[in-house]
């Protein structure tokens, strides 16, 4: 029994059923392992994420300048910004909003930056449900081309203090 010491020579070959099962399991694990890099080559939905460090003060300054430059209005006290095609876009997570509200164009490529200036936040793009961990001091850089027009919302799905559940942002694609 498994609570007593085994017989003296327990290093014995597995029997047929075990061998069959283990072989199937190994093959399946191999399939999964190969799929992982393969999907990066043939798949079309990979995160084009480039890791980069940035000081929180610098990020605040850069994103403020970005807002200043392309601001087109205001909604719920949050600036609305419409950046030109192919430009760098800066989204800032802070307690407890996503600044600014972005107006983007369908089919146009943007270099998206997301970072936080205080705590960790969770970027969760609704309704397509794409999630990224937002860490202060680090910039998530994503190459994004909106393929669909409409209004998208950003939830926060990392606990960031008492206002966490009120933290919602917006991206409008036209």
């Amino acid at each position: 029994m498994s609570i007593t010491s085994p017989e003296k020579y327990w290093w014995k070959p597995a029997d047929l059923q075990e061998k069959v099962w283990i072989t199937i399991a190994i093959l399946w694990c191999l399939v999964l392992s190969v799929m992982m890099p393969l999907w990066h080559i043939i798949g079309t939905q990979n995160p084009s994420l480039e890791p980069m460090k940035i000081r929180t003060d610098d990020y605040r300054a850069v994103s403020d300048a970005f807002i200043e430059k392309y601001k087109v209005g205001e909604e719920s006290g949050i600036p609305v910004v419409e950046p030109p095609a192919n430009s760098d876009v800066y989204l800032r997570a802070q307690m407890w909003n996503w600044t600014p509200i972005l107006k983007l164009k369908k089919g146009v490529n943007y270099k998206f930056h997301i970072s936080s200036t205080d705590l960790m936040h969770g970027f969760s793009l609704m309704p397509i449900v794409m999630n990224f961990q937002i860490v202060p001091g680090h910039d998530n850089i994503l190459n994004i081309t909106p393929t669909e027009a409409g209004t998208f919302h950003i939830l926060c799905n990392e606990f960031c203090g008492i206002g966490h559940h009120t933290m919602i942002g917006k991206i409008i694609v036209i």
Partner: protein
Amino acid sequence: MSNELEFRTCPITGKKVFKATQNLIWINAVTAVVFILIGGIMAFLIAMTRWPAVHLLPAEMFYRFLTAHGLNMLIFWIVFFEIAGLYFGASVLLNSRLAAPRVAWFAYILMLVGAILVNIMVFTGKATVMFSSYVPLKADPIYYLGIILFAVGALIGCGIFFGTLAVAKAEKTYEGSLPLVTFGLSAAAIIAVYTLACGAIIYIPTFLWSIGIIENLDGAMYRLIFWGLGHSSQQINVTAMVSIWYLLGALTVGATPVNEKVCRTAFVLYILFINLAAEHHLLTDPTLSPAHKIVNTSYMMYLAVLASMIHALAIPMAAEVAQRKKGFTKGMFEWLSKAPWGEPGFPAMIFSLIIFGFIGGITGVVYGTEQLSIKSHNTWALTGHFHGTVVGGTTLAFMGLTYYVIPLIFRRELIGKKWATAQPYIFAIGITLLAIGMGGAGTLGSPRRHWDVTFADAIIPFSFDPAVILFTTLAAIGALIAVTGGAIYVGVSVLSVFFGRKMAPNEAKIL
């Protein structure tokens, strides 16, 4: 303190049970049950808050109690029980005295003081940081100190386990190799040492940061090392749980592993490959490059999965062989239909295996791929995944084992055997519904750690697909059933341990 060499012989298994070991198993297991009670009350309150129809607690209390739930369940309940399990595996199963019982008591006191400090900080609102306490979210320094004390205590507990293995070997209390259960627990203890080392590497600087000695801590670095602790500790749970499946198989149907080599090799795979999988917590982080993530998630992770696949065959196979030897040979499944379903240990083992494998395991492999991590990270689906692994799997296995530890080690007859038998069924149904509800809502985007999924106070109006609320309701119903199952567990075990009939020294009855 009683004589370290005083022992009795178990009338059922013939094992020597040393008094000092028995007391230490008792205190650690009883303490574990106290923490599952606290965690369970929190579970009820937070589950009823997430259910929009009830929305029980105010936001501040919700986040506070959610922190308390995570810590009391995932850390204190599980680890105290595991320490009891380690002492059992080394001392009772090997017929050996426990190495240094006084030090083991010291370890226990460290863990207890740590756990109490943490709870005081959390319940007084000085550490509403969730169990992961991601910097730069700061808790009171006492909170980190409590965690450190607890971890040091647990590390000493592992030391006692290894010490006891050495004592047993030196005093030749067993012949040949370690029993499989002890071997599995050794794998768990080895992973535990690595894990607790990561804990020290991250919590000591965090403590220094909280009192102002260190000025800056990088959040991403914290996450990397924290998950070296947080993920590997789940592997301790998996490994301990699998060992307990073998143990329950032996206690309920007399299961003997068909091939020791296969089972043991699978445990070794856990030790070698499971730690590397820790990085799947960071698949959506802005720190690791895609190439790094691919390597890490592709081949490393699946070797640990392979180990689980092997156990998933070996355990039912051992039970089948044992049952067939007893004459249940009709057709494919008589061995299963004639299994002791009316005894708590067998259904606890089978449901634990099924929920762990089919709910926790499959979702784990799916969410651990880079592309799908993006779809699931920090959603409620993740919470659903680990309620499959650590609750439906580990917790249920521990619950099942408790009903045997009480008569075998504590020598008390169970009070409420019928309740004990129904308990695994109730708990398994509840957790299954809970996990499915969380998984469904999370797949549609419902965030974890969130007070109000109706977003009534949001700065920009937003509302979910109504299906999210439907799944959330399903989870809440599951939670009510699971909490009932948990309450029965606490009720039966506490009543039996304190008021159960004392069994005669030679009484050879388990249930």
